[in-house]
C-alpha cells in the first residue's frame, strides 16, 4: 500500500509518500503506526505522540482502530488547520 504524509509528519519523515508492505500481523491503523515507528528515528519522531496523528484510508477519515486490510492509500497528518 501507499503511505502518504502531510505537514510536519511529512517533514519529520523526510518524504511525502512511499510504498510500504507491512506484515499480516499489522491489522489496524494503530498497529501500523507502531510498525512505522520502528523504521527509524525520523519515523519515531513523526509518531512520537500517536494520539495527535489523524489518518485517512483511501481518502476517508478513519479512527486508529480501523482495519487496514485492503487499503490502497493510507495518509498520516496532524490536525487540520484549513479555512
Amino acid at each position: 500500500m501507499k503511505a502518504i504524509y502531510f505537514a510536519w509528519v511529512r517533514e519529520r519523515i523526510g518524504r511525502s509518500d512511499e510504498e510500504i508492505t507491512p506484515p499480516a500481523s499489522v491489522a489496524n491503523v494503530e498497529d501500523l503506526m507502531v510498525w512505522l515507528t520502528r523504521r527509524g528515528e525520523e519515523y519515531a519522531h513523526a509518531f512520537e505522540n500517536p494520539k495527535v496523528i489523524r489518518v485517512a484510508i483511501d481518502q476517508n477519515h478513519v479512527k486508529h482502530n480501523a482495519p487496514i486490510a485492503g487499503a490502497r492509500e493510507i495518509a498520516f497528518f496532524p490536525p487540520m488547520t484549513g479555512g
Binding site: F6, A7, A56, Q59, N60, P78, M80, T81, G82, G83
Partner: protein
C-alpha cells in the same frame, strides 16, 4: 447544486456565487463566508497552505452533503485555496443559498466549522525575515465549535 473547488488562484465571491441564482427566482437568502489571511503582529510574510489533493475536494463534498441533509438549502459553493497566500488575501469562501435566511446562516456556519477541522488543509507561517514560523496548531475552540452541532 454543489460547487467545490480547490485552487491556487484568488477568486471573486460575487462571481462565484452567481451560479447560485442564475436562471432562478426562488432564492431568498445567500450567506457567504470569506476567510482571509490575517497578520496579527505584522510578522507574517505569507501563509503556506498544504493540502491533500483529491481528498480535499472529496471531504469538502462530504461536508456539503451533510449540510444539505440537515437544512433545506438550495445550493452550496466552497472554494479553498492552497499555496502561498499573503496577508489580506482570501483563503476560503463558503456560500449557501436558501429560501430563508435562518437556514442559510446555519448551514454556512456548520460548513465552516466542519471545514476547519475535517478538510485536509494545513497552514504554515512564512515570516517576514524569511524563516518559517512553523505549522499553525489546531485550535481547541475549533474542536469545540464542532460539538454544538451534535446537540442541535
Amino acid at each position: 447544486m454543489v460547487t467545490i473547488r480547490v485552487q491556487a488562484e484568488d477568486f471573486d465571491p460575487t462571481v462565484e456565487t452567481a451560479v447560485l441564482t442564475k436562471g432562478r427566482t426562488d432564492v431568498g437568502a445567500i450567506v457567504t463566508f470569506t476567510g482571509l489571511c490575517r497578520d496579527e503582529g505584522g510578522m507574517l510574510n505569507a501563509l503556506e497552505l498544504e493540502h491533500y489533493p483529491g481528498m480535499a475536494e472529496q471531504e469538502l463534498a462530504r461536508i456539503a452533503a451533510q449540510a444539505q441533509e440537515r437544512w433545506p438549502v438550495q445550493g452550496i459553493v466552497i472554494i479553498h485555496r492552497f499555496g502561498k497566500i499573503p496577508p489580506g488575501e482570501r483563503i476560503v469562501m463558503v456560500s449557501v443559498s436558501a429560501w430563508h435566511r435562518s437556514e442559510a446562516f446555519c448551514a454556512a456556519e456548520f460548513l465552516m466549522d466542519f471545514l476547519k477541522t475535517q478538510a485536509p488543509f494545513w497552514k504554515r507561517q512564512n515570516l517576514g525575515d524569511g524563516t518559517s514560523g512553523g505549522w499553525v496548531a489546531g485550535k481547541e475552540a475549533d474542536e469545540e465549535a464542532l460539538e454544538r452541532w451534535n446537540t442541535k
